[in-house]
Amino acid sequence: MAINLKTVDDKELLYGTKICQGCGAGMAARMALKVLGEKTVLCTPACCFAATTTVFPQSSIFVNNAISAFPGLAATASGMTHAMKALGWDDDYTMLAIAGDGGTIDIGLQGLSGAAERNDDLIYICYDNEAYMNTGVQRSGSTPFDAWTTTTPTGPCSKGEKNKFRKSLFEIMSAHRIPYVATASVAYPQDYMAKVAKAKEIKGCRVIHVSAPCPTGWGYDTAKTVELAKMAVESGLWYLAENEGGEMKLTYKPKELKDPADYLKMQKRFKHLTEEDIQEIREIRDAEWERLKKVLSFE
């Protein structure tokens, strides 16, 4: 389903939040709610998103919503979607869970695996800002190699995050054989929103992993969120893909991968990198891209 920005609903279902300026998570949630509409029930863990939307007496969410615990989000959403059916809610309501990368691929993974195994009828969106941002930029299982965070500080004995590969939520969820899994980026709203729209029409457990840069945690000018998110995709450090019923494919292929150096140099979390370090990242990117070609069957 092609997304025409001119006709996308003007009505805001997320407004007046206290997110940081230029917040990618805010973009990701707003774009999703634009597609899903008012017939959405939203649940989030006690993450950035919850902390910036629903601090009493403020409630910046305009649909039914609740907060749950970090490891409990997916199961809470499961309980909610089961209850919606048991209590006879209209069929066109969407149960939406939104959590960050930490809340999803680290502390929330077990619960999400359970929800996926049961194929509970919900959409789960992971906004990935590549660290635990709400608690103050600590590393997560999605923090990229060499990135500075407050728990992977740089110094004579450290170059930042040590793991060369981030957990692949796309592949983890694909292995659960749920009906729909996708990756997306806030810099490609038509691609992302089309995926949300597609997910909305499917029953069962649907998971979308969306790249959402964080100016506060990454250290860049707040105006550059979309620019950076785009550079990540163009340089092959992130990818736009989907898995619909087992059919995996790339949904956007950069004509030619750009040099990651420009992307890295725009962010304070990578400012310590030498040319040698950047070369290592290029090599990791190249190997990962070759691997993705096999996983997603593209040339």
Partner: protein, 110 residues
Amino acid sequence: MNKPKVNKDLKLPTNFDELMIGGGNGVGVLATVNSGFRTFHPVFDYNKCVRCMFCWIYCPEGCIDKTTVDPESGKIMLEVDMDYCKGCGVCANECPTKCISMVKDGDDDE
């Protein structure tokens, strides 16, 4: 402008009966504005604007309004809700025609 407004009549609970149990609340309750976040604000050059709506969709605050139409030209006149714009500058950065400039609050003629 078709954007939610700050709830000026918001009454805080004054006793236990008025306080919803369990941290409950209504939805879409805007207690305060966000203009205090802002140093710069976007200004549109409507002659250069091509109504591509990228600023509108990228705005993390959703505070760009697309419902106002110029009666003469029939064109959408994008407006910014200054109660909720934080001045992040994403709109100006992404505008393909560079029709949005970020102006320091108080420095323009308005």
